[in-house]
Amino acid sequence: MATHDPMHQFQIQPIGERLILGGVDLSFTNSSLWMVIGAVCSLILLGVASSRKSIVPGRLQLVGEEIYGFVENLITDNIGQKGKEYFPLIFTLFMVVITGNMLGMVPYSFTYTSHLAVTAALALLVFFIVLIVGIVRHGTHFFHLFVPPGVPGWLLWLVVLIELVSFVSRPVTLSVRLFANMVAGHVLMKVIAGFAIMFATMGGVAWAGSLLPVAFNIVMIGFEFFIAFIQAYVFAVLACIYLKDTIEIGH
C-alpha cells in the first residue's frame, strides 16, 4: 500500500494551480506549504514573545529571549564580537532549519529539510555570503584563505589544492549532512512503524510481534527530536565557523 511506502512521506505534491514562470515550474507544493507554516509559527512565537517587554519576563517572553540568547552565544563563541552584524542571518538560518526539523516530527507533516534542494539552497546561500563577505572585507587578500602562512614553496600547490577542495566541498557537506540525517531518521521511523502495522494486520497472536517495533519507535521519536535540534545547531555553528574563517584571514 502507498502509505506503507517509507519514501511516500518525501513525495512533493503541488497544491492548487501550477505556477510556471519562464518555463520553470515554481508551483506551490506541500513542501512550500510547510515552509510557510514554519515561517508563520516562528513569526507568531517570536512576534508575541518580542511584543512583551516587561523587565521580569513571562513564559512566552522568556522562550523568545532564550532563543535569542542561544543564537547570540553561539555567535559570540564561534565568531566573537565581530559576528554581531551576521546575527540576523544566523538567527534566520537556525530558525528555518529548526522549524523544518521540528515540524517534520508532526504526524502527516512534510519535512522540508529532508530535501536536498532545500538544504543545498541554504548551504549555497551560506557559501555565497561567505564568499561575498570575504571579497568585500579583504578584496584580493581574500584568496590568502587558500594559502596558509608558513608552507614551504614546493608544497604550496598541494596545500592550495586541498584548501580549495575543502572550501568548495563545504556547501556539499553542509547540505548533505542535514538532508541525510532527516531522511535516515524519518525512513527508519516509517519502516519500523510499517513492521508494527504488518504484524498487527496479520491476524491471530501475531499482533504481539508489533510490540517491539512500537517500543523501538517510541525511543526513536525522542531521539529524532534530539537530532532535529542538534542538526539545526550544527548547521548554525558551521555557518558561524565558515564566516569566522573568512573574517579572520591569516596575514
Binding site: I12, D25, F28, S31, S50, P88, A117
Partner: protein, 222 residues
Amino acid sequence: MSFTRYASAFLVCSLLPLQQAFAEEAAEVVHPAEGQLFEMVETQQEEIAAHHGGGGLPQFDPTSWPSQIFWMLVVFVVLYTIFSKAILPAISGTLENRQQHIDTHIADAERLSKEAELIEAELKAALKDAGQAASHEIRSAEDEAKTRMDQALSSFRERYDNEISSAENRISGARDQAMQDMNKIAAELAAQAAQKLAGISADASQAESVVLSLSSKVKKAA
C-alpha cells in the same frame, strides 16, 4: 553516531522488499476474495513507480528543485526581513533595557551602601568623641569635687583648731584667774583667821606674798 545511523538506514532499506512482500501476503490473507484490491495495489505501485522514477528517492527528482529552492528563498527572505527589522531589535531592546535597569539598581545599591558606611563611620566617630568628652567631664568634675572637699576640710580644720586653741586659752586663763583668786581668798582667809585667833592684824599684801610663796613651793614639790 552518523555512521551507525546511515548503516541502520541502509539495513532497513534492504529489508524493504521483504516487508512489502509480507504486506502483500497479509492483504491476500485478509481479503482473499476481493480481486479489486490487487488492482488498487497495482495501480498504486505504478503511481509510486512513476513518482519515484523507479523507486528512487523523491529528493533526486530534479523537476521539483526549482520550486523548492524558490519557495525556500522566498520564506528565508521574508523571515530575514521581519527578524532583522522588527523582532530581533525588539528583543535586544528589551534585554538592554533590563540590563540597564539592573545596572542602575546595582549602582544605586552600591551608592547607598557607601553612604550607609560613611554614616556608620560618622556615627562611630561621634560616639567615640562623646565617650571621650563624657569621661573628660567626669574626671574634671571629680577633680573639682576633690579640691572642694579638700578646701572645705582644711578650712574646717583651721576653724576647729582655732576654736580649740582659743578654748584652751580661755580655760588656762580661767584657771590662772581662779588660782589667783584662790590665793587672794586664802590670804584674806589667813589674815582674818590670824586677827580673830591671835588678834594680829596682818597686812593683806603681806599675807598674799606668803600664800604665793607657799603655793609656789607646793607647785615645786608637786
